[in-house]
């Protein structure tokens, strides 16, 4: 029970991952994104080592199809995994094992993969894809968020006892090797995708301030001064 999107921004080459699920703290199990290498996300029944192995292989220049074959060769339970891979050039590969709980499936698009399991149906994947494609000129983090919202609004996750809410969600975007540009998470919430939008929009207000004070701390104002300089919220 999870739905996700991995993507490469065709304009900037930035790599991104968006995930949401009924499980708690999904963002704490997303090691598979590295600028200059690619993105790999294993879900459903997760083999935790997969994503880091995949990054090592992607960094060496292996294709996503080659990486997938290597993961399959190393895993007797490959049939229970759902895996999506994108490389630094935007090539993709995806696998939804027959052991994944229904409904499960994926869609490989141009530079992205939408995929999920324990979903209401294929219309959820369609919703993720439509959300991602809605505004191709937007920053990748907001395209990923729109994709998650599209999946949620198309019905999201449905398990054996009916609809399952999103309890955790996360978005990561990388354009440098040693840290993420965007690294925003909601680990435990009743409406995690909605909360993730709140977190991401708040972070965007601070993004430049946080980055600049790291690069040129000698020129930085204090955070108290920065907060005081923000326009007051209309609804405050």
């Amino acid at each position: 029970m999870t739905f996700s999107i991995i993507a490469r921004c065709p304009t900037t080459g930035r790599l991104g991952l968006g995930v949401t699920t009924f499980s708690i703290a999904a963002g704490g199990r997303c090691e598979g994104i590295r600028f200059g290498a690619g993105v790999c996300k294993t879900q459903a029944y997760v083999k935790r080592d997969n994503d880091l192995i995949a990054l090592e292989l992607l960094a060496q220049g292996m294709t996503p199809a080659g990486v997938m074959a290597a993961l399959e060769a190393g895993d007797p339970d490959h049939d229970w995994r759902q895996i999506a891979i994108i490389d630094r050039e935007g090539r993709t590969c995806a696998h939804t094992g027959p052991g994944c709980r229904p409904w499960a499936g994926h869609h490989e698009g141009d530079g992205f993969v939408a995929f999920g399991n324990v979903l209401a149906g294929p219309e959820v994947i369609d919703g993720i894809v439509a959300g991602y494609l809605r505004d191709p000129g937007a920053d990748l983090e907001f395209r990923l968020l729109a994709a998650l919202e599209g999946g949620r609004d198309a019905g999201g996750q449905v398990g054996s006892e009916g609809h399952l809410t999103e309890r955790s969600a996360a978005i990561f975007v990388a354009s440098e090797p040693d840290h993420f540009d965007i690294d925003a998470r909601v680990d435990l919430h009743d409406d995690a995708v909605t909360e993730l939008r709140r977190v991401l929009e708040e972070f965007k207000i601070y993004e430049k301030f946080y980055r600049d004070r790291g690069y040129r701390p000698d020129l930085a104002m204090s955070q108290a001064e920065f907060v005081a300089s923000l326009p007051r919220k209309a609804d405050a």
Binding site: G28, D49, D178, R185, D218, A220
Partner: protein
């Protein structure tokens, strides 16, 4: 303004960080642990590349003081940074640059670094260390959370006249896997340390289930069935 505990469990060798701050999404600075390498933090006008560099040096076996010297030598603005490092032997190093704002400093001992800036005073850093040492036999993640709670309860961030709440917090622990054992976050909240304790308490109920269903998917039950079994227990 931030306060942080870095800790190593002397019994198990597990390595971890607990961090809380007025800034939002502080977890982005807490990709701080690597199995069999060490744990590190760079805060106060954080140099966002430092953690990755420090973990690579620790993985090569450099001792904590040598790692700290490399980070300083690599950074023209290190006088604006606050850095902590523990290596896999439990040796520690910590540094507070002269240009870091507010009360800033550290309390260190074997296997731990308590470090903070923009704090109400030295007593906050001392309380964090005291919290870490309060239950030496407990799981490392509980000890790290307790350290943050002691820091919060000692006054946390601010100065003589103002207090700043914790808006974000994070917890990460690594042991023997290539990925962390525990990686939990609160990115935007009015009481982030309280919320982090709540997230951890709930997560602990699922931790074994999440690990087992991945290792043994053929025998795994669905999460709804697992939750029903918890209620029945």
């Amino acid at each position: 303004m931030t306060y942080t505990i870095l800790g190593r469990c002397a019994k198990t060798g597990r390595l971890g960080i607990g961090i809380a701050t007025y800034s939002i999404t502080v977890g982005r600075y807490a990709h701080s642990t690597r199995s069999n390498a060490g744990v590190t933090v760079s805060q106060a006008n954080a140099n966002e590349n430092n953690n990755a560099i420090a973990l690579r040096l620790l993985a090569q076996g450099l001792a904590a003081p040598a790692v700290l010297e490399h980070l300083k030598a690599n950074d023209a603005w290190h006088s604006y940074r606050q850095i902590g490092v523990i290596d896999r032997t439990g040796a520690v190093a910590a540094y507070t640059g002269s240009n870091v704002r507010g009360w800033a400093g550290e309390v260190t001992g074997e296997n731990y670094v308590s470090t903070g800036n923009g704090l109400r005073g030295q007593h906050v850093a001392e309380a964090i260390a005291k919290g870490f040492l309060a239950e030496p036999g407990a799981d490392l993640e509980h000890r790290l959370l307790t350290a943050l709670e002691y820091g919060r309860d000692a006054g946390g961030q601010g100065n003589a006249t103002t207090h700043r709440t914790e808006r974000s917090a994070a917890l990460q622990v690594s042991s023997r896997h290539s990925h962390p054992d525990i990686d939990l976050r609160v990115d935007l909240h009015d009481k982030a340390v309280d919320e982090l304790r709540r997230v951890w308490t709930v997560y602990k109920q699922y931790e074994g289930y999440y690990a087992d269903r991945g290792r043994n998917p053929r025998g795994a039950i669905g999460q709804e069935a697992f939750m029903a079994s918890m209620k029945g227990a």
